[in-house]
Symmetry: C2
């Protein structure tokens, strides 16, 4: 079996992650931040270490503003619903995932906001200019997907961040497909809110998202309840991170992320090179074949989409799976506006997405399978 | 170390749970419900099995209406915020956790609802009559904590459920402290929404809650985003469970719950007997001492609260922890109204909460420690 669906979830969990999860089940299984006894404090201390290490990784100076959520979609919901301003305007891009688009559409239908979906003027990704020309006097939030989960297009987030700062507009980056292998420096890039998916780029467990929240991002909670602090108050406490972390934390996934951070830091250069090499090699070889590639050759970010003419993407993925044991993803990738602009609303795309644990040999097998499908489809 | 804080989170995770979590990291780590390849389908099938087994456990006939959430607080938020009716009235009890009280208070302050907190007229728990006399013409929801996390008081949920059905009022049960060792038959008890905390009574991982949602409970989502279905639609899909499950599911915690369900089903009688025996023994022995017990002797539900006169609960817990290595929880237990009615707003309570993995021998050690503290505090 060859697994090329790492943009949905990385398959292989490194030993650093597995060890921490097993420690969470055997040593750190008390509830962190709920009681004053040794077991609870020990677990709490492990959780706070991960918060600190995550803040460090993204050059962010407020670990108490690192918020653990259910998943990256939940982090985006907190950022978008929590910052909503009556009669305000939001800008997002054609690369956004439904996890940004659907909360925006909900707010719009409730009569709270309006939003503009910005198109890409250049082939490689969203630029500062694409965003700038759409700013209105009431624009309070700009949402920018960092790397497209459909085809790897990459936005100029540093330039866009500086633009947001100069206009005093909140800047939310969806780092679901970039965090772990792309540079994201919250301070330098002037990012106010960063949402990440640890089960992807940090090779950790499903069941955890993170929202890093700058001091400028003064948002409201979207859930309410037990926080282990101010228990006698019926209102949500104002202290962070508790204000946004309701109920028991997902400790095993948090500790697993701690292991994932160690793995990524120890192998950062190799991970980046691996993703770049695999994507570049696949692109180069596919471009010799009579197929449609939707990924720019410069965007060697670990994600590549293509289609074989006259075949639906799901059909191709199904053959790859059944005949060759190769896991790719077909259809739509929860990013409808991107499919509109790629003109793939009817067919979707065959998406290949890599992790550090893939190899050139596996890509060669995929190429062989694609050639075979091309040959068969001509008959 | 003796761990008596199982109402916050069970410490010992049985092998059935640990094995499933490790399988989730090594065999079932693809994203369930996102792609059509074998790895995704295999993981998806495991997730659906747990959904079915949970439905069976609670005598509930709609597995597709078993909704996986971040934690029990998140499940309660979905139930309460998702069912909110403008100008409606909600009834809850003095035993509710902040995870019910705070969403209610939020809705009240937004001018959406009003709510009544019902007091206990009897010593052992909330009765049908306590609820019934507070029903107003616009009451659309009754929330009832099943077993109090403060002192183990137990509500008459079957009678209250039948009352709700006769009045056509939605019935939400907070089963955080009861599910796994108390009978909860959704069909027989006429429960519309049941929220549970798998890391407590099912000995599973932190990072998962569940809301079981009857067909009568036609609620709205509170988060929006990727569901793997209807990807081209900007509105949340209407199909369940996807309508309420946004983003990637916490697969390891779900599969862990699958293991927990097996463990609980295989040891159901023994678990119930153990909790009853330990609570009864502790109650009997403590009642010989000059201390204040807040738990009714008939409520041998695995939770017992007490105080040593003239000592704050946190002080007692601190001595138990430091001098005796015994983990209990002091202060408030996220249930402010219960502390008001127990007259413990100043001191909180020392809470002892058991799991199947505790022993009479451990309780004897606690009793020895309490006697020692009593002796020392007189000096």
């Amino acid at each position: 079996m060859i697994y090329f669906d790492n943009s949905a979830s990385t398959l292989v969990k490194p030993k650093e992650v597995q060890q921490m999860v097993n420690l969470a089940m055997n040593k750190f299984s008390a509830n962190p931040g709920r009681s004053g006894h040794r077991q609870s404090l020990l677990t709490g201390s492990e959780v706070e270490n991960v918060r600190q290490n995550l803040a460090d990784f993204f050059c962010f100076s407020n670990p108490e503003r690192v918020i653990f959520t259910q998943n990256c979609s939940d982090a985006l919901n907190l950022a978008i619903l929590g910052s909503a301003k009556q009669n305000g305007h939001v800008i997002c891009t054609e690369n956004e995932h439904n996890s940004s688009l659907r909360p925006l559409q909900y707010l719009k239908e409730k009569g709270i906001i309006n939003y503009t979906i910005v198109s890409q003027s250049e082939k490689k990704g969203i630029t500062k200019n694409d965003i700038e020309k759409n700013i209105l006097p009431n624009t309070y939030l700009i949402i920018c997907n960092h790397i497209s989960n459909v085809n790897g297009d990459k936005a100029e987030i540093e330039e866009i961040g500086k633009l947001c700062q100069s206009k005093n507009i909140l800047f939310l980056v969806d780092g679901a497909q970039s965090a772990g292998h792309e540079e994201i420096n919250m301070e330098k890039f002037k990012i106010d809110m960063l949402a990440i998916a640890p089960h992807k780029g940090f090779y950790s467990l499903q069941g955890l998202g993170v929202l890093l929240l700058s001091e400028k991002a003064n948002i409201s909670p979207i859930r309410f309840g037990g926080t282990g602090t101010n228990s006698l108050e019926l209102n949500q406490p104002s202290i962070l991170p508790e204000r946004f972390e309701v109920g028991t934390l997902p400790t095993p996934a948090i500790l697993g992320l701690g292991g994932g951070l160690i793995f990524v830091k120890n192998n950062y250069k190799e991970i980046r090179e691996k993703l770049e090499d695999l994507t570049t090699f696949l692109h180069y070889e596919l471009s010799k074949l009579p197929i449609k590639i939707y990924t720019h050759p410069d965007n060697a970010n670990g994600v590549l989409s293509f289609n074989i003419p006259s075949l639906h993407s799901n059909e191709v993925c199904s053959i790859l799976n059944e005949k060759w044991g190769i896991c790719t993803r077909g259809g739509y990738h929860c990013a409808p506006k991107k499919h509109q602009s790629l003109n793939t609303l009817e067919t979707g795309t065959v998406r290949v997405s890599f992790s550090y644990f893939n190899s050139i040999n596996e890509v060669q097998k995929l190429l062989g399978a694609v050639k075979n499908i091309l040959k068969s489809s001509k008959i």
